[in-house]
Symmetry: C2
Subunit: 509 residues, 2 copies
């Protein structure tokens, strides 16, 4: 709880955390390249550490096991581990095997710690703000909903206005929307919150205590990491493979660290944009049941599919039913911020009724309820959600394609897969310079959130999240400015890339 | 953090907590009555324990010292302590003196624990809800402000809507209001929150950790106790004397328990309604400085003076200035809920600018900001606060006097001093039956929050908070219904008074 500002605790996984040979082989993917195999393997392992897909202090498989899994000689793996140690990315201790680490220089690198706080500050005139992935409001629809809500407000004014569960009309509208999306829901299973972040904070308050571990994807949404840390918990990052999710790795981490909660973003994962398929949802629901770990899925972006109108049902729909009720191991949090507008600050939580009751009882630990007027506005908006999201999707699809085209032209060495939904590209740079880019961005009329924001322990220096929430002309300008910032960073060489944080922006969306 | 619902930790003060003879003599007041002095003294001490003015596990003064302070023989005090022990209200151990306690039966009594959760549920048709002290909205002024805010909203819609510090226009309006109340304030010292409760939660998140102690008045606002406990802290209750505040007792508790924070309600203290005078404010500011404990003053009711238009300046104004800035030991939290409407759910916090920055950095641990529209509404309302509060005060004054008259007539053995401001009477019953009253209230068309809600360890069974926020006819009916509930409880005798919680309502306002 009590934290010194600017000094977030890193989150070392437990001493027994390890990765087995087979999952590591999957993570490594196609690692071979011309030249000695031991060097290629060491480089591939180093990239996994740098990119955060392999967390720190994780015990690597025994040399014999990894050699067998990769079809190599044991000598090759021994040499690769040795090279990794020489470069500072692994450490071996008698009886404890070889564990991942970062070189001292990299650990002290600004990206590994929190920079000065700029949350909520305007980027300034002429600056293109790529730190927020938050679209402007659907102005016509929002204004109409507000005007209609004002007409309804007088009915509520004679009451005291405290609604810690949420207005019945809004809880019914949220339940209906879940039902329409393939997850039958009663209003009693819905709690209205001040956003998805607040919903997560409430779950952490009730279900976790100081020192408890919380499984997260790696990379993940920075404010989720922040909420876990502020609640006194320790995020346990589980790397995402090249595609999809590695449920086996999640299960292994659950076994090894005994987390109290898991937080996953199945719909257009932030920042990678990936969508979890139905088979994996089924596995995640099974994991929640088998490991006894409640899984919180963040559905903030779930309505923002860009390529298919209908995706898989919400993850709780894959949980087994008990007497007609889902078993409550998979909880969902959602938000009006991305579908409608961040300025509304309303979200919700879907959980079994008895858990909703306990959350309502715990709520005074954070606040006493959500404003009445905003709730009426959201109920109105949800009544007409389909046309609003259709318009929004069309616009975002065009913006995504504009940004992808402009980036491919301006920065041909950067790689990305345009995501099937959500609000941003997760771009793979060809050098670990993300913090350096964020540091010089201001000089090029940009505001950036560096890749390490999305991970723990300074990972993801080779990545940058680039939102396509702005208008087309801004996106084209942004690509040009990114190219000039990149030229400066690459021209400035290694020294400059090392001192790199003043300009790094905190991500709040 | 992690708490089992319905099982709040009691908050035993530290093992070295003690009360000296002189402060205890002050607390005892005029305790003498006909009959043996030892019995009268024991009864008076027992009442202090039952009413929570003497916390549990506090070491009583040595017999010789108390005898000297009260002008009694040592034998009398020895006999009084013996009687207290026999009745279960004290325990003596070799080398550790005599400490206060509650008899086992009283500890297990429902009032000592949290009852089933009913927060946010409607009381039902025909029921007069006396659990909430929350007035209805000033409908004309509120509706006009909302309509005007809707006209301003379009200016904000092109932005992303995230404002974790609050809109500049609202921060300026809050700063101006402080300045007008005698406390010069810059907008940079203001953070907009989702209510005063949320402001307190944010301060607890940043400034306290698990197990830390927080000084509170006893009795105090139940949700403040809840926030401290949910944050993993331990409330240290300091009893209020018959009148005013006992700053010496606060200082002694600060010395003895080393709290990280103190939470006080100087303006129309909830539930007692008392107003801290200027001299005491000066002492409290001095205590904050000398003991090095930040003091949070809750100003939720500060604008609701009923008898005098101008009270003392806000407590931070009594803090010493350093280079033109107050020293930041006294922090203030405020709310629009009681001056305007609970359904707005906006509050604020006043602190030094550097602390505001740290709170903004910590905020993602709870939420990401306050809704834009509500903020514009509140800025509008504050621009015209004087006529709104004048109307509200006039109405509340009449309601206070109506309730006082009706109670005096219907329940002549109940005692209270009509408070100079705020929203409720703190009524002293003539028997420890507050939980029993709350339990039977439903049968009499009432909803009550029992006295023990306002204390720790089951104290205040002899008290009931009765709000005068409803219309006059409801207040008169409420007095009649209270009298019939009281008749049932007294007629039902001792047994019924012991099993008494099903109907007890959680207080949220």
């Amino acid at each position: 709880m009590a934290r010194t500002a600017g000094m977030p605790a890193l989150s070392p996984p437990g001493p027994d955390r390890s990765v087995a040979a087979r999952p590591l082989a999957r993570l490594l993917g196609s690692w071979r390249r011309p030249g000695p195999a031991y060097a290629a393997l060491a480089d591939a392992l180093r990239l996994l550490v740098l990119d955060g897909r392999l967390p720190l202090a994780v015990r690597l498989p025994g040399e014999r096991e990894l050699a067998a899994a990769l079809g190599l000689s044991r000598t090759t793996v021994t040499a690769a581990y040795g090279r990794l140690r020489d470069q500072g990315y692994a450490v071996s201790r008698q009886g404890s095997g070889t564990r991942t680490r970062l070189p001292a220089a990299a650990e002290g690198r600004p990206g590994a710690a929190e920079p000065a706080m700029v949350l909520g500050e305007d980027a300034g005139p002429g600056v293109i703000d790529l730190a927020y992935a938050a679209p402007r409001a659907p102005e016509g629809a929002l204004y109409a909903a507000v005007a209609a809500a004002v007409e309804e407000l007088p009915r509520y004014l004679p009451g005291h206005g405290y609604e810690p569960r949420g207005l019945p009309v809004l809880r019914a509208a949220i339940a209906e929307r879940y039902t329409a999306r393939g997850l039958p829901t009663r209003p009693g299973q819905v709690l209205v919150t001040n956003g998805a972040q607040h919903a997560l904070a409430l779950l952490l308050l009730l279900l976790t205590g100081p020192g408890d571990r919380v499984l997260v994807e790696h990379p993940t949404y920075p404010n989720a990491l922040e909420a876990v840390r502020r609640a006194g918990g320790r995020p346990v990052p589980v790397g995402l493979p090249d595609e999809g999710w590695d449920v086996e790795a999640l299960e292994a981490a659950a076994r090894q660290t005994g987390p109290r909660l898991a937080y996953l973003i199945a719909d257009f994962q932030n920042p990678t944009g990936r969508l979890m398929d139905a088979a994996t949802r089924e596995q995640v629901a099974g994991l929640a049941r088998r490991a006894g770990v409640p899984v919180v899925v963040d559905e903030t972006l779930a309505e923002l599919s860009l390529d298919d109108a209908t995706g898989p049902a919400p993850v709780p729909a894959f949980g087994p039913a008990r007497g007609g009720r889902d078993d409550g191991r998979v909880l969902a949090v959602g938000s009006a911020s991305k579908v409608f507008w961040g300025g509304l600050r309303i979200g919700w939580l879907r959980a079994p009724e008895e858990l909703v009751d306990r959350l309502v009882a715990a709520r005074p630990g954070l606040d006493l309820g959500t404003p009445v007027l905003e709730q009426i506005v959201l109920a109105r908006l949800l009544a007409d959600v389909v046309p609003v999201t259709a318009t929004r999707r069309t616009r975002l699809r065009a913006q995504r394609d504009t940004l992808a085209g402009a980036l491919a032209e301006a920065l041909p060495t950067w790689r990305f897969d345009p995501p099937p939904g959500g609000l941003a590209l997760w771009v793979h740079l060809d050098a670990p310079v993300s913090s350096a880019l964020a540091a010089v961005a201001g000089r090029h009329g940009l505001r950036l959130a560096a890749g390490p924001r999305f991970g723990v322990d300074g990972a993801f220096e080779r990545f940058l999240r680039v939102p396509y929430t702005g208008p087309a002309e801004d996106l084209r300008d942004a690509a040009t400015r990114l190219a000039s910032a990149y030229a400066e960073v690459r021209g400035g060489g290694r020294r400059r890339a090392r001192r790199a944080d003043e300009g790094d922006a905190t991500v709040v969306a």
